[in-house]
Symmetry: C3
Subunit: 131 residues, 3 copies
Amino acid sequence: MVYKYSLNTAKENMYDITNKVKEAITISGAKCGIATIYTPHTTSGITINENADPDVVHDLLLGLEKAFPNRAEFKHDEGNSSAHLKASAIGSSVAVIIDDNKPILGTWQSVFFCEFDGPRTRTFYINISAN
Amino acid sequence: MVYKYSLNTAKENMYDITNKVKEAITISGAKCGIATIYTPHTTSGITINENADPDVVHDLLLGLEKAFPNRAEFKHDEGNSSAHLKASAIGSSVAVIIDDNKPILGTWQSVFFCEFDGPRTRTFYINISAN
Amino acid sequence: MVYKYSLNTAKENMYDITNKVKEAITISGAKCGIATIYTPHTTSGITINENADPDVVHDLLLGLEKAFPNRAEFKHDEGNSSAHLKASAIGSSVAVIIDDNKPILGTWQSVFFCEFDGPRTRTFYINISAN
């Protein structure tokens, strides 16, 4: 049970994909289990954070840029090592627990696809494991 | 098989919840599989690190604060964007492999609930998936 | 279905272990599911990033060192708190989705064992969960 989605991204942004997670869980019929949301790209990530105030996304992207800027000492000649660093710090997947055919998400939580080196057409996958 | 726990936190600290992970695995009866430990809060995280010397927790919290401090340019008016950044860098869940009805943890490993914006009453969930 | 592997590491480096992930998936026979790759050590991590240009690994290690250096204020007397920080920022495991008995990995993605405090003989585990 693997579901594939795609989206078009801007240079750097975070996209709320919670509705796709809910959709995959509904289609799967899983009562209890784990949803794994995964990006196959090395300059993007998947994270869970606040969906209520869009300023949180602004601050997350700014704070990551301050922690992991491009540096003169970097050698990768594509010039996007900052994006590779953010990808590994954020991670390529998240797990969400499924209960009663719904994701257990806190009041303020959404699942975000994080673009660190767009604009691009990106793909992500959702696996549903019932248990 | 989802187990729910709660704890009361200080302003910023890490709490060893390994006993709860072991408890959930025991109750589940799973011989082999995955335990997923998950926080539904956007200013907390779950991580695995050293449990032997409490100075490691001190240094982890200090090092995260240095990497992801609050900044004048941040816009989120709750003023806790540093905590949101730490939450996404650490992550909202960890997976632990179950073998012989026990978690595979290294000698020095414990599972920690990380509070970045307390004090609060917090919840976490453990899902056990047998395979 | 847990598979155990070991490797000998240098002081600080990232090792492509994708072949072991593919091997474990093949042996398991799982058509669809999740591979969980896990390190039981508190100064190492598992991540997914680019395998094509070795300069990416150079830049990842350099960027992590800049974000999480050892600091005079650290108290842990082993002197390796920087490595503990990198371990928690990168994470102790990754999940890879299995489809058609193969991992869904992007063109440039590999799974890496990250050594932050070697040289050592290290272990990692792979659990295969079919669904």
